[in-house]
């Protein structure tokens, strides 16, 4: 029996919950499945509506993690199962090898000698990376990772030889860790809804249809194009861009709920495009612009004032291929009536958020039909594992979750 708290997920919400609980004095285990902390927001270029970089807040939270003796964290690790009841959970964790040691923070040499390339998942496959890599420039932990696929290959040997002795360790194996904790905070977050599931939107069939998360990576200085938004077919900056709102969300065949953030994400991405070119024509197909609250409404007002942005109320129902790799978006114009067609050089699907629970549920945690976690006394969801929310609400929800977890520990101690 231990008085500790497990936080599953090291994204924005999990980090917040972990540091807030630890700064109250509780022992915290933080488990992240990627090989870096920061989760979804680490992939974002800016936050709406302030247009500030997410890494700014992450940097502070990383420092809080680094300097707090109460936090033990694992990256590249998954929680396989949670069993027990309030105040007493047995948890099984698998930590996967990175095939490097923590002091391996400069993989440049290994990168130079590696000859193979794999799709870069951090950039949603927009570019490739070497099998030895730093997950991203602001990665925490700042430790290189080697793909399991090169273990015991010539490529692996070359990498090992190029790196300082002792920094590569191909003998590493999966490690199983069993913990007993008093409370579990679930901060497993979300994945962008799989756009290939929406046949009519033709994602994956036409090269110049991308998702909103891909735009985030393109716009990021650490992305595939050093921050330049381009159309994949010819790498040129698009002169016309169409945003398809509710790509999956508010749709009973896909995600029946509203994903909260996609409208504002589109407004934000319009500011990226505008910053890159004063001439880009932008059209947004929407059902409702969901910019709730004064801050968000003011942001909408600001973007709406841009004369080169057109908002059309109508859901995109069909997509055709146009000339020169262009994409034709076809929607029912619910105001003007009739069908409206717009040919754009680049189409952006504002795909919604699907909770991890819908894709990779954890044994011992209960989920609702959408995949969101059902709260229990000792199992406390926060952020987007609980319901679709923005970042500021995630901060609120994960701070609250930390107190709820602390209460569980207190009840047990009393």
């Amino acid at each position: 029996m231990s008085n500790s708290i497990l936080v599953i997920g090291g994204g924005f919400s999990g980090l917040t919950a972990a540091v807030e609980a630890a700064e109250m004095g509780y022992q915290v285990y933080l488990v992240e499945k990627e090989n870096y902390m920061g989760g979804r927001v680490a992939q974002l270029n800016k936050y709406f509506p302030k247009l500030c970089p997410p890494t700014c807040g992450l940097e502070i939270n990383f420092k809080r993690v680094k300097t707090n003796p109460n936090i033990t964290f694992y990256s590249n690790a998954t929680v396989d199962a949670v069993a027990g009841s309030e105040g007493n959970y047995d948890v099984q964790i698998t930590v996967k090898p990175k095939f490097t040691t923590p002091q391996c923070t400069a993989a440049c040499k290994g990168k130079d000698v590696a000859t193979t390339e794999v799709p870069n998942e951090f950039n949603f496959g927009l570019d490739t990376r070497k099998p030895v890599y730093m997950p991203h420039p602001m990665s925490f932990p700042y430790q290189c990772v080697i793909d399991p696929s090169v273990v015991n290959t010539d490529e692996g040997k070359k990498i090992q030889e190029a790196l300082p002795a002792g920094h590569v360790d191909f003998t590493q194996t999966e490690e199983k860790i069993n913990l007993n904790v008093g409370a579990v905070i679930v901060a497993t977050g979300w994945k962008p809804y799989d756009a290939t599931k929406m046949d009519r939107l033709q994602y994956g069939k036409f090269p110049n249809i991308v998702t909103n998360m891909m735009i985030e990576r393109m716009a990021s200085p650490s992305g595939p194009s050093e921050g330049k938004i381009y159309r994949p077919s010819d790498k040129n900056p698009p002169k016309t861009v169409g945003f398809v709102q509710c790509a999956g969300s508010r749709d009973k065949d896909h995600l029946p709920y509203c994903s909260y953030i996609c409208c504002l994400a589109t407004l934000k991405q319009i500011t990226y495009l505008r910053e890159q070119s004063p001439d880009t024509e932008i059209v947004v197909f929407y059902i409702d612009i969901r910019s709730p609250g004064m801050k968000y409404e003011n942001f909408y007002k600001k973007v709406k004032a841009d004369p080169k942005v057109t908002f059309i109320k109508g859901k995109v129902a069909d997509v055709k291929e146009g000339s020169n790799g262009n994409v034709v978006l076809i929607a029912e114009d619910t105001i003007g009536g009739g069908k409206v067609e717009k040919e754009v050089e680049l189409a952006v699907l504002a795909t919604g958020m699907q909770p991890e629970g819908a894709l990779s549920p954890i044994t011992g945690i209960e989920y609702d039909t959408d995949g969101f976690v059902v709260p229990k006394a000792g199992i406390i969801p926060c952020g987007c594992s609980k319901r679709p929310v923005d970042v500021v609400s995630s901060a609120q929800s994960s701070t609250a979750a930390a107190l709820k977890a602390a209460q569980v520990i207190n009840r047990r101690a009393n």
């Binding site: 602001m138 612009i289 910019s291 709730p292 609250g293 929310v389 701070t399 107190l403 709820k404 209460q407």
Partner: protein, 764 residues
């Protein structure tokens, strides 16, 4: 006498690029008792090497010269030993590849960083935390609505006592005065009974919670851990009402001349007639450790004559809030007693001009309109009709299910449209003209009543509410940036207000659903608990929670200039009659803005002060006869600009080897004396890299970088008077993700300085 061990990492290209033997000799010359190198310093063997010296050789000051301090975080951590980390990898070797042919420059750069770190390590002292003995463990909650009640109950559940102060005579606020409530969790499709009465009952039964209704906070004085709260009956004046300082305008006379200190004092006293001085102690005050500000919101009621096209002023046109009052009383009826069987809800007042909602509207407005539409259908199931005219139905997240659940009701008519006119239809009702609707074209409907979906105005928009008895005044500062919400400006850290120990929650922070209010009250309760612990053990609160140090003042040399008391972004400093600052470590966030502000250089921390940084600057070697080797200092914000430099270096960006980087806590902590030190040591330029400021400021200490920017103007003036080009000192704003630009910013500055030639005072 401290014993310094300096350890040089020679891996990752450092050993090849630099003359390590020369660096070793230099470190010894500079006073390091032990100097060692290791090509895998961060490996267990390397760490052991240092540990052995600490344990067996008595080393108590360690310099690690190697990778950026940001990457190593737990290995070199020995109790009682001060560890200084200087980056030879990112700031020297990676950012200055030797194939540029400037090996000599790069070596000199490394040598200067060794000198600077030695200068620092010789002067640092270990922090001695300012601990508060037995801080109050009780939390004051201002406001007894959902957020406040949730905070109280959650605190009680965590073992903490609290007192709720509520202006009204009952707890519950608006949430207690509603007929039905929108859901706070699954299932999201059904209206539920209000939860407020249940919370009130729980509070009344909880021995850890004290409730003071009909009561207001006159003032709150002193510090987290030991706040003194003076209460009063709601709505009355009290001698303990917090005094209000003079505004900047009030400090000048009619002719624009600044009033003398004495005249200002007179004016201040007149303004605060009948109020006790802010430093006066109220012996009847109650003691609290922390505060949750949950004072909520007020309904927006349009002024007379506003929204004429919506017939505001007609007795049958009401706000959503007034409609709820009607619904709470019984069946929906009009002022004249007639049953309101058909009701139109107007969500967006802009007619065809724009598609925005009412001021201070939010998701709550949309969700409430749906709820109210449902009331009408519940009251008149046979022939009731609800029309909701919206531009954007804002039911985010799972509230979409609530919206969906209403769409199949035949008596519910929901459409996008521009409401262009509401007028008396001459038959005792109202006609509502709507254009551009979803069902095609324009329409006019006759209804019994029209409801405007108005917003929720935060209580802090018009009043201080919290009423601090602080030198800087009773209110949170700069709330106009957030339209009056008591917001923090930080998306990542919403609870970090500009006053340590006070955490805003609920509608005062932003418009929220009841579900959000409960969560928010819980979050704020946690922050309140944290601050109680922080003051007890003496560490800072966010963002420097690891910091056990606090600023020390050497009062003998204080000239009462008031800069520190006025500039502190967190209002941590009070003062006495004469204007001598009174530090309040428990309110302090340790940004060092006071240190940067002080012209007498009397404020500092144990490991970060005027002398330490000044010594670092003076230890930079400045060749006085080599025009190829001009020297600049770059003060870099450690939170954002410094990481940007790290990443730039790791991505192969390089910059000129002439400047020397000095990380600072915040640009606000940069004292002008350091700039003078640099210029008088013959350096040729000073660059400051800090966070963006302005409305969307990114400075973690809210005002630091902006204040530094203001000070730059004074620096420019004094440089000019010396005959030195003012362009030699410059401030640039960078974000943490400007790693693609930061090297260019440095290079541009260097080029500009090189263009000006050497500092005219070089060598003097």
């Amino acid at each position: 006498m401290a014993k310094v061990g300096l350890y040089i990492y020679t891996g990752d290209g450092i050993g090849e690029a630099l003359d390590i033997a020369a660096l070793t000799n230099l470190a010894q010359k500079e006073g390091a008792a032990i100097v060692k190198t290791h090509d895998d310093l961060y490996s267990p063997a390397g760490i052991q090497m240092v540990k052995d010296d600490v344990e067996k050789e008595g080393v108590d000051r360690v310099v690690i010269a190697g990778a950026s301090p940001r990457y190593e975080y737990k290995d070199f951590d020995f109790p009682g030993v001060y560890i200084e980390k200087t980056s030879l990898r990112e700031l020297v070797v990676w950012s200055h590849p030797s194939d540029n042919g400037n090996n000599e420059h790069v070596q000199e750069l490394a040598e200067d960083y060794i000198r600077m770190s030695m200068a620092k390590i010789k002067k640092v002292a270990m922090p001695v935390p300012e601990k508060m003995e037995a801080p109050s463990q009780k939390v004051l909650i201002v406001g007894g609505g959902i957020a406040g009640m949730s905070a109280a109950l959650e605190l009680a559940e965590a073992g903490f006592e609290s007192t709720i102060v509520e202006k009204e005579n009952e707890l519950g606020s608006f949430a207690a005065k509603i007929r039905k409530q929108t859901p706070i969790g699954p299932d999201y499709t059904t209206l539920i009974d209000p939860i407020a009465p249940g919370l009130i009952a729980k509070i009344n039964a909880n021995s850890k919670i004290t409730v003071k209704t009909g009561t207001e906070l006159a003032r709150i004085a002193n510090v987290p851990g030991n706040y003194r709260a003076s209460f009063k009956s709601a709505g009355v004046k009290s001698e303990w009402d917090a005094p209000i300082p003079l505004t900047p305008e009030e400090k000048f006379d009619a002719n624009g001349k600044e009033l003398s200190a004495e005249d200002q004092k007179k004016k201040y006293n007149a303004k605060n007639e009948g109020r006790q001085d802010y430093m006066q102690v109220d012996s009847n005050a109650e003691i609290f450790g922390a505060v949750v500000l949950a004072s909520g919101w007020k309904p927006f009621v349009p002024a007379e004559g506003e929204y004429a096209h919506l017939a505001w002023g007609n007795p049958n046109v009401v706000t959503n809030h007034q409609f709820e009052d009607i619904a709470k009383k019984g069946k929906i009826v009009r002022a004249d007693g007639k049953e309101a069987k058909s009701v139109a809800f107007v969500m967006s007042p802009g007619a065809k001009k724009d598609d925005f909602d009412f001021p201070y509207a939010s998701a709550v407005t949309s969700i409430s309109a749906l709820k109210h539409a449902k009331y009408v259908r519940e009251d008149y199931p046979q022939d009731g009709k609800s029309y909701i005219f919206y531009q954007h139905m804002r039911t985010p997240g799972k509230y979409e299910y609530f919206y969906k659940s209403l769409q199949n009701d035949e008596g519910m008519f929901l459409t996008k449209g521009a409401v262009t006119e509401v007028k008396d239809n001459g038959q005792g009702g109202l006609s509502v003209k709507v254009e551009d609707t979803l069902i095609g074209g324009d329409m006019t409907v006759d209804v019994d009543m029209v409801v405007l979906a108005t917003g929720m105005i935060p209580t802090t928009k018009e009043e201080a509410v919290i009423n601090f008895a602080y030198r800087q005044g009773p209110a949170f500062r700069d709330l106009e940036l957030f339209q009056g919400y008591c917001d923090s400006n930080f998306i990542c850290f919403p609870y970090e207000t500009r006053r340590t120990g006070v955490y805003a929650a609920g509608g005062v922070r932003r418009a929220m659903t009841i579900e959000d209010e409960m969560e928010d009250g819980t979050g704020a309760a946690l922050k309140a608990i944290q601050v109680l612990k922080a003051v007890e053990v003496g560490h800072a609160v966010h963002p420097r929670t690891w910091d056990y140090d606090w600023p020390d003042f050497y009062f003998q040399r204080c000239t009462q200039c008031k800069r520190c008391t006025e500039e502190c972004p967190f209002g941590a400093l009070d003062d006495d009659e004469k204007g001598t600052p009174k530090p309040n470590p428990a309110r302090c966030r340790r940004c060092g803005t006071c240190m940067g502000a002080c012209p007498e250089r009397i404020i500092g921390f144990k490991d970060y002060n005027i002398d330490i940084v000044g010594s670092m600057i003076k230890n930079i070697e400045v060749p006085d006869d080599d025009e190829e080797k001009l020297r600049m200092v770059v003060f870099v914000c450690e939170n954002d600009a410094y990481p940007a430099l790290d990443i730039a270096a790791s991505q192969g960006k390089s910059w000129s080897p002439l400047p020397r980087i000095i990380p600072v806590r915040c640009l606000g902590s940069v004292n002008v004396s350091w700039i003078k030190d640099a210029m008088s040591s013959g350096m040729d330029g000073v660059l400051l890299l800090g966070c963006k400021y302005g409305d969307d400021y990114q400075c973690h200490f809210a005002k630091g970088s902006e204040l530094a920017g203001k000070r730059m103007d004074n620096v420019a003036e004094s440089l000019k008077s010396l005959g030195v080009e003012k362009e030699r000192v410059k401030l640039e704003q960078v974000s943490i993700d400007d790693y693609d630009k930061v090297s260019q910013i440095i290079n541009d500055f260097v080029e500009e300085v090189v263009g000006m030639g050497p500092n005219p005072f070089k060598g003097f």
